[in-house]
């Protein structure tokens, strides 16, 4: 360490300081290189109290991108792989699964490429080769045997179009194209 033995330095407060700034420009990188570089600066020295020492070296050596520490957090690899895969599915773009009653497999679409319900419905119609009908607040989707619904964050099944597009984008977890008969309860004033 730079010779300062005060409590504040021991705490390595700089490393934990909350800052404004883009991710990747902060000092998180020090945790990766810390194991290799600074601790060994004076290994036999009694004053060496570890990671704080030689922190100034780290900035030059630190990789540009946000780096992960090996084995941290201590989560099992098999668990990590499963869950990470699922999460990235929904975070790059806004991919949600779309199912249609009676169809054996699901599709996936990226909600973020659409500007509103009209575009989304057109895309669904073309993907599943069907007509969905016209939306009305009172009667839901008339003029077709299909009704588009979605599952929101609370797990409830909602009719597509009832809430403003932005609200829908942030709460939609999954889309479901229901056959008219099953969709009876949705959007008909209930």
């Amino acid at each position: 360490m730079e010779g300062v033995v005060s409590h504040a330095s021991d705490l390595n407060l700089e490393a934990t300081e909350l800052r404004l700034g883009l991710p990747g420009t902060d000092e998180r990188e020090e945790f990766v290189s810390v194991a290799k570089n600074n601790k060994r600066a004076s290994p036999e020295s009694a004053n060496d109290s570890g990671p704080e020492g030689g922190k100034s070296i780290d900035h030059e050596n630190a990789p540009a991108a946000k780096a992960q520490i090996v084995g941290w957090p201590p989560v099992r690899s098999y668990r990590k792989n499963n869950l990470e895969a699922k999460k990235t599915e929904t975070e790059s773009g806004m991919y949600v699964k779309v199912s249609m009653d009676g169809a054996p497999y699901l599709r996936k679409i990226d909600l973020s490429v659409y500007n509103g319900y009209a575009e989304l419905l057109k895309a669904l119609e073309s993907m599943f080769k069907l007509t969905i009908g016209d939306y009305s607040e009172r009667e839901g989707y008339k003029g077709s045997e299909y009704a588009p619904a979605y599952e929101d964050k609370d797990g409830d099944l909602m009719l597509l179009g009832d809430v403003p597009w932005d609200m829908f984008m942030s709460s939609c977890k999954r889309l479901r194209i229901m056959k008219g008969s099953d969709a009876g309860g949705l959007g008909s004033g209930v």
Partner: protein, 590 residues
């Protein structure tokens, strides 16, 4: 046991004659002693028994049938075979726990083969083998399958090294198999063909767990297997099994007590939905439920009929939101153990607090461990909510992104009976986010208040003060995990000096150096093992330890690019077998 309690304290000296055989005037003829000792199961008790005198040592070794070895390198197969002639069931553990987090080279060791070779010779009547963190090759599995005609149970937790071929050998040849459990073992190279190799008339299976298998199995073969095995009580399938397939399995196995489902997302017709709902409704004996990949609120309700008897709900593969969890928990009043993913957030944990008064164990896993965004996951609020509603909590594993000292103090006041307290604040060295202080007081409160504490994992910004507290108060502590904590050697010294029951100490990225390492010289022989990585140890210090303590194995792994002086990863463990012969070149045995 002994009708005269006074006599049992001091054995007459005529029992302790030099050749170790029992004297005709001995109080306990061999047959009686052996009969009595054969009733003792606990290996800890047995170890104590064996220390009483030579007669008892011998009687104990002849009657021990369950072998437990916590570190496969602490003893050799030959020594074991010489001492215990009649072993029927074996539990073996191999690699240090940090191997789970990719901190060891792949070929580090802990290969079970040499043990199996010895077992094949010495224990032809072997029935059960349970391994944890060991490497098991196909060759080993074949040896296992062909050497033990009475073999019944194979359990592999966190193991690796085998493929479909190895498992095929087991399923083909072990005609009396009651248990096949590969749990969370690494199955990257494992196909699903082994399931189809059970003979047509094979029907003895009681436990089948292939939940971590990455490949598909033949559903036809599985269905036939399940319908033949009338005693099946534990079935944990993998994600490839669909809901409607699950329904058919459940119909064949209404007596299941533990179920691991497959994927819980599938387009179901209303009829199929009803069928699976009633299948769960008929599974009245379910106590443990897991799997549930992709489960959502739409499909979770099919479970409700089976939830009233549930004591353990493992949702660690189900990415649920708070509402979904709350609705599900409302049907599970008898839960003792709950594992969830942190997408349920604090709100979901509030539901845990209000719905699960009998809860004893909670584990919260992070959906994305590398997401440094502080807005997601759980915080101190969720943990507090659980502690208020679940006063019987004794085991917690909690991954979070922020915590406060005040919250932890309150939590342990609410739940003083913690035996396992594993708190992982995921950002290394993060202070109390409200006061910006260290988290010393939090863990001090844990050590002081939870007198039954046996296992502790610390995190956050910590100085030596934390370790002073631990050394002073945590007198029952057996396992301690430390990362990115402490200010000087003193921290580690406090723990080594203060915790009499310490058995496992694992440390990474802490400023502890040779002085700290060497302060535990005498202690390590009373412990199972010590792990220190990315600390301030040098080769010199490690060599000194190895020289002073010949009954300890001191192994060093150097990282790429490290200089001659640093000892990057150090693993120290007691052993009566001497240094191991199978270490890969990267592991230096000092």
């Amino acid at each position: 046991m002994d009708p005269d309690p006074k006599k049992s304290k001091f054995l007459p000296s005529n029992l302790l004659n030099s050749n170790g055989s029992s004297h005709p005037q001995s109080l306990f003829p061999d047959e009686v002693l052996e009969k009595v000792l054969s009733l003792i199961d606990s290996h800890k008790d047995r170890n104590s028994v064996s220390l009483v005198c030579k007669d008892w040592y011998n009687a104990e070794r002849w009657t021990r049938s369950n072998l437990f070895i916590g570190n496969c390198y602490s003893v050799s197969p030959e020594i074991v075979a010489r001492r215990f002639p009649k072993i029927k069931s074996v539990r073996l553990k191999g690699k240090p726990r940090f191997s789970d987090f990719d901190m060891l080279p792949r070929d580090w060791g802990a290969n079970v083969h040499s043990w199996l070779v010895m077992f094949a010779k010495a224990y032809p009547f072997l029935e059960e083998l349970r391994l944890k963190r060991m490497t098991v090759s196909d060759q080993s599995m074949e040896l296992l399958a062909k050497s033990f005609p009475h073999f019944r149970a194979l359990s592999l937790s966190s193991c690796d090294g085998f493929t479909d071929d190895g498992l095929k050998a087991i399923t083909t040849h072990c005609g009396n198999l009651t248990e096949l459990d590969i749990r969370d073992s690494v199955t990257v190279d494992v196909g699903g063909g082994w399931l189809s190799c059970f003979p047509e008339d094979f029907s003895s299976l009681e436990i089948l767990n292939f939940s971590s298998l990455n490949s598909e199995v033949s559903f036809e073969a599985l269905e036939k297997l399940v319908s033949r095995c009338r005693s099946l009580r534990v079935l944990k399938v993998n994600e490839s099994i669909t809901l409607d397939q699950l329904q058919r399995l459940l119909v064949h196995a209404p007596l299941l007590t533990e179920l691991g489902t497959g994927s819980f997302l599938q387009e179901l017709t209303p009829r199929q939905y009803e069928d699976i709902e009633s299948a769960f409704g008929n599974s009245k004996n379910l106590q443990v439920l897991s799997g549930l990949w992709d489960a959502t609120s739409f499909y979770l309700p099919v479970l409700y009929g089976a939830c009233s008897g549930l004591t353990f709900l493992n949702l660690s593969d189900a990415v649920l939101q708070s509402g979904e969890l709350a609705k599900l928990l409302a049907h599970c009043p008898n839960l003792r153990r709950l594992w969830v993913i942190d997408t349920v957030e604090d709100k979901g944990l509030e539901a845990v607090g209000s719905s699960c008064p009998l809860l004893e164990e909670l584990r919260v896993f992070p959906v994305d461990p590398y997401d440094l965004d502080h807005r997601h996951g759980v915080s101190e609020m969720g943990f507090l909510a659980v502690s208020r509603g679940c006063r019987k909590l004794r085991y917690v594993l909690y991954f979070c992104r922020r915590m406060t000292n005040a919250a932890v103090v309150t939590i342990v006041q609410n739940c003083p009976d913690f035996t396992h307290f594993r708190l992982c604040i995921m950002n290394p060295r993060q202070p109390d986010y409200l006061t910006n202080e260290t988290m010393d007081e939090a863990f001090g409160a844990v050590a002081k208040t939870c007198t039954k504490l046996r296992r502790l994992s610390v995190s956050g910004l910590l100085t030596d003060t934390t370790f002073e507290y631990i050394g002073k108060y945590a007198k029952n502590l057996e396992t301690l995990s430390v990362a990115f904590a402490g200010s000087s050697d003193r921290g580690m010294q406090c723990v080594l000096e203060g915790c009499p029951k310490l058995r496992k100490l694992e440390i990474r990225d802490c400023p502890f150096g040779n002085a700290a390492l060497l302060s535990g010289l005498k202690k390590y022989e009373m412990m199972r093992s010590l792990w220190m990585s990315s600390c301030n140890l040098t080769m010199k210090g490690c060599r000194l330890l190895a020289r002073e303590m010949p009954r300890l194995n001191v192994e060093v792994i150097k990282d790429k690019g490290s200089d001659e002086i640093q000892a990057d990863k150090v693993y120290v463990y007691r052993s009566v077998a001497g240094p191991r012969q199978d270490a890969p070149p990267v592991v230096l045995t000092l």
